[in-house]
Symmetry: C4
Subunit: 276 residues, 4 copies
């Protein structure tokens, strides 16, 4: 076979890239749908494989199916790598790492006997669904949510820091008050109890038995119950602010100020008329 020219390779790379990344061509759309079905099917196989009754019945089928999908996704990964404009950037991008982790465990299982760990990672393939679907309206709305999260990230950090301090102090206090004889066998475990209680999950595997312990637990519960208001308030006010009527995106012809009130006719910085 004649050696392919650099031109032919570049041309092939572009064509594959259009099929994989693009959704406008018929082949691109077909690729996306097949990929989506393959992801969902492979995840279903992993989940069913963990059910003992199912593994006993269909274990061999699952084994071959898992390797089929692994080979399929490996080929897909190599194609993406081959056709990517910037290979290093792809390898270290979020989806690049997800795609690699989606096939690596199967190969690792040939060396290590920790099959379960492999199963976990294949579930991550489901994250490709977001990129494959590419629904414009949904991605715009997701953008609104992400934007609100970004602008409030400092308030959120302050909140989380306070949470960490609260559960540490509450956990230590309940450890001292209740002690190992009531189930609180160490401070780390008591901090775990404080998290379970403050998030109002309340498993019940550990609960205070002494009156003082129950009084402290009441404080933990009411604190957790009330401060749910904080992240909600932060997020809601940011989202509402993003949705409020925006400034007129015009520039004052005189002083250059950008952005004026909705009903302004004169620039409030220099007094010049906004509409010449």
């Amino acid at each position: 076979m004649k050696q392919p020219t650099a031109e032919a390779i570049t041309h092939l790379r572009k064509r594959i890239h259009i099929i994989i990344e693009g959704t406008d061509t018929r082949l691109g759309k077909l690729f996306d749908i097949v990929l989506l079905i393959a992801i969902l099917a492979s995840v279903a196989v992993v989940m069913l494989d963990s059910v003992l009754y199912m593994r006993l019945q269909y274990g061999t089928l699952f084994f071959y199916a898992e390797w089929f999908f692994t080979i399929l996704f490996t080929i897909e990964y190599l194609l993406r790598l081959f056709s990517a404009p910037n290979r290093l950037r792809y390898i270290f991008s979020f989806f690049g790492i997800v795609d690699l982790l989606s096939v690596l465990p199967s190969y690792l299982s040939l060396v290590f006997v920790g099959v379960q760990y492999l199963l976990v990672v294949r579930i991550l393939r489901i994250l490709r669904v977001f990129r494959v679907l590419k629904l414009k309206a949904y991605m715009q709305q997701a953008g609104f949510l992400a934007s609100a999260l970004r602008t409030s990230q400092q308030k959120i950090t302050v909140f989380f820091l306070s949470l960490v301090l609260l559960v540490t102090i509450f956990g230590s206090v309940i450890y001292v008050v209740e002690g190992p004889e009531n189930g609180f066998t160490s401070i780390p475990l008591s901090i775990y109890w404080a998290i379970v209680t403050m998030t109002t999950v309340g498993y019940g595997d550990m609960s205070p038995k002494t009156p003082i312990g129950q009084a402290i637990a009441s404080m933990v519960m009411i604190t957790g119950y009330s401060i749910i208001a904080v992240p909600t308030g932060i997020f809601t006010s940011e989202l509402a602010r993003n949705m409020r009527p925006q400034l007129q995106p015009i520039t004052c012809p005189n002083c250059g100020k950008f952005g004026h009130a909705v009903n302004a006719t004169f620039c409030d910085r220099c007094g010049h008329s906004l509409h010449v």
Copy 2:
């Protein structure tokens, strides 16, 4: 008996329709109240019939009562069908299906021995209460709520998709870390645990025993505890936006002010009439 003329049938249909659907006439109001009492009574019968102590004592009474209500609602269904302007549209409407499912189980129980399934469906009859009551103010307020839900439906879908991904990943990780010996017998069951934990319900039938598992569980709990802020923020900002006073998007022909109150007829800046 003389064969009824087409005119007579149409006239009868209209009269029955007015009684069933309308609430203005005395007969219409009486029909609605009788129907409401019948629905509530039949649902109460079904509920009491499921209590063993009650069934032993009043089983026969319940049996006859259930068939009485079934016959009653069957006649009502046939009357609605007969008087409906568009029969196909009624059969496939939400209430048409509910009305059919409210009587079908009783007849099915003659063939199949799954009496309990029938009981479930009769409970749905309670949904007729909404249509029967027809309280204008309440329906308007319900409309506000429904409207806020509709306009935020894309953000809500993004949120739910994220929830599904989170519980799938968390469930798989905890399955690998804890394993069947600690109660996490399969990935689907572990995903169930992740939902129980992330929604902060926390039954306690399954809870992590290893330190790493408890650390992961802590992440699940704090995630679930915090992201309640998202649907709340979405819904609150949409509802607040709907409740803000809207401006008429018109310009004053005299002074050029854009945006006037909903029921304004004069410009509140210069006094000129808005409608020349």
Copy 3:
């Protein structure tokens, strides 16, 4: 003793009324503080009396203390009745009923042997604290909260109606799917489970064991987890609306329209200048 004149009685009534209801006089303030201490003390006695260890040790002391407080509050009730401007209105007012229920159980215990019932009602005396304290700023803020609740009461009713329907349907479905052998022994009990789960309390005394049941439970949990957004959104948007900048409280001299936009100089209904 000379028979008291009508004038003397009226004068006495007024004086007692000032002491009891008013907080301006020194005697009135003293009365309030003594009453507050008496309420809290009597409630503490009732609570301690229910602890077995305490009752064995101090039972007699509690018995005498309870009767002391009952006599005290009976005298207070009679004084209020005597000095009230409108006796019938007081008897049937909220606090009138609370005051009566705060002493009645003790007398009833002489006839009936349900002492515990009596204990419950004495706890209600603590509601007098609100009226006794009379802190102006707090009552104004409480007024804001109550006002927001009132204006959103129709939306709240729609929400509660939906909750009732949801738990009824979910409860019936889980009863059919899980059945008595899994703990779901009747439809009412299953509805109780649905409430426990949808409010995310999750005791764990009843939890689904079948996969279908767990799938349905997941729907219940995610529904309950998400629709917390609804009452929160309703209440938050009402409260925010109450706090928004208000209209100018002026009347148009020409057409009489009350309430104009913050920066309006002309009436937007008739065009007349607002500032003559």
Copy 4:
């Protein structure tokens, strides 16, 4: 050694104060980082010391480490005391008390055999992290949150008072209905159950068994589930209000428009200068 002059002491005090409190100098920054690492390390030692397996293995190491940190923090406390401009004010400030409580338990353990109590207090040292980090943007955001909490403190107090009344009444009622034979052994314990249920934590260690008790429990759950809306609404509306752009309360001398943007120098309606 020559006796140090008052001047030398003052100079030393100032130098130490700059190192301890200031973060601009290199020595100051180094001090902060070393302190932060020491705090986190000492807290980790306390936590690990409570784990039995760890204490058996490394008990001696922990003992020496704890005394090392205690000596270190004692020296730090004395240095702060020595260099503080106002010593009394430091001793009784929040951090002054925390710093003292962070070393006192170790010395108390020489007298009393309640070692666990000491462990609790050392955890509080972690609160120094906030002061040490001094991140401007985060402290500003924290200020926003704290400000919203302050302005809504009266509404929050009304809310908490209502919570206390609700759990007291609910707890007493459930005690009467269920009784000691169903786990509700006293009114205080039943109030604890009411708090566990109303905050939706739901341990499951106590749950109602009688139908009436379950009906009452349902009311408690739905109440707790719904009134989460109140603190959330309070906090969200205050935070949103703080974030709304404020207007300058001045009038344009030319056209009379009231209310201009914060940094406006000209009227945006007529163009005239706002400051004559």
